[in-house]
């Protein structure tokens, strides 16, 4: 299981990476923007995407839309981890096909729960 973590703040990438390691996911890669993340995804091999929303080059919502529009990536599970908490944004992400939405600040338990929920749905 290879996971791509995307956030323009390196502290946040480190925190998520450590939490994933704690949950047993040791194979993680990082990107600092939607723009740098997309080529990594297109190259293939990524099984799960965790992304922020607010990034200067390409936002998380645009990255999500690009992923869903690409036939090779359309079914990639995507978890959004973001400070954007307005109702209309949450709805926008859901309509764009996000599999989970976690708002910052979050707890380790919440992240674990949402990831497990996504995997349940895939296996189920």
């Amino acid at each position: 299981m290879k996971i791509l973590v995307v956030d323009d703040f390196s502290t946040m990438r480190r925190i998520v990476k450590n939490l994933l390691r704690d949950l047993g996911f040791t194979n993680t890669v990082e990107a600092d923007d939607g723009k740098t993340a997309l080529p990594i995804l297109e190259k293939g091999g990524i099984d799960f995407l965790v992304t922020d929303w607010n990034m200067p080059g390409m936002t998380g919502i645009d990255l999500l839309k690009a992923v869903r529009a690409n036939p090779d990536l359309a079914n990639l599970p995507v978890l959004m981890v973001t400070a954007e908490a307005k109702r209309e944004q949450i709805i926008m992400a859901a309509q764009a096909g996000v599999n989970g939405y976690v708002i910052k600040p979050f707890t380790a338990a919440t992240l674990k729960e949402k990831i497990e929920k996504i995997f349940e749905r895939i296996d189920g």
Partner: protein, 243 residues
């Protein structure tokens, strides 16, 4: 147009009229009219520029007024929130450290004492009674170590999560920098308009996407009641819509 020029033209006109030279008279009349016209145009030009400057200055005044009434108080609240967040994060981290240091110290001490006893045992200097005591202590030590290490593990995770403030405060500060730059540009414009010298427009810093609200600062961004305050709010919203 100087008095001399006027007089000279007038004299020429009179002479042309006395000479019955219609063409010449017309020429001179055109010249006089032309001069009057260009003077008029100059006056209008001056007035227009003054009006434009005044309007521009009103616009900037209005902009500065808006910044002063809404955005600057907002910015102060945001920075206050940043202070609160960083203080809380430092507090959480220090609390975890203060809790864990004694645990680590105790485990270190126990390990040292046991190592000493074990060393004596290996040197065949430990009497049997003391060996039995050491054996019990080793069993207890394993229990303590497991408990202590688990405490240390969870404490370290708390410290890890506490660092999440940096991302949120960073985003908030970016927005305040944006605002300050806005204000700075308006000030430069004001100074320029009032005729003073200024160093010109400062170089742009990275700007924030205006459409994205970013981290919600309580009391500033949640006035319309359309912000999810907790993960539970988010989950409820999504499940109510069937996601």
């Amino acid at each position: 147009m100087s008095q001399e020029t006027r007089l000279a033209l007038a004299k020429d006109l009179v002479k042309a009229l006395e000479d019955d030279n219609e063409t010449k008279a017309d020429e001179i009349l055109d010249e006089i009219a032309g001069l009057r016209e260009s003077q008029l145009f100059q006056e209008i030009g001056k007035l227009t520029r003054q009006l434009h400057d005044t309007l521009g200055s009103f616009e900037i005044d209005a902009k500065v007024a808006k910044l002063t009434e809404n955005d600057i108080p907002d910015a102060k609240d945001r920075l206050q929130y940043v202070m609160t967040m960083t203080e809380e994060a430092a507090d959480k981290t220090l609390t975890a450290v203060e809790r864990l240091l004694p645990v680590s110290e105790q485990l270190t001490q126990q390990t040292e004492e046991l190592a000493l006893q074990w060393g004596r045992f290996l040197d065949k200097e430990l009497p049997y009674e003391e060996f039995r005591v050491m054996s019990k202590q080793i069993t207890q030590h394993f229990m303590h170590a497991q408990k202590g290490l688990s405490q240390i593990q969870s404490g370290l995770n708390e410290i890890l999560m506490a660092q999440g403030f940096q991302d949120l405060t960073g985003q908030i500060i970016r927005r305040v920098i944006d605002l300050v730059q806005d204000l700075e540009l308006s000030m430069v414009d004001l100074i320029r308009l009032s005729g003073g010298k200024s160093k010109g427009k400062p170089a742009g810093t990275e700007t924030v996407d205006e459409k994205l609200p970013g981290p919600a600062v309580p009391g500033v961004d949640d006035k319309k009641g359309d912000v999810a305050h907790s993960q539970d709010d988010v989950d409820d919203l999504l499940s109510s819509l069937g996601f």
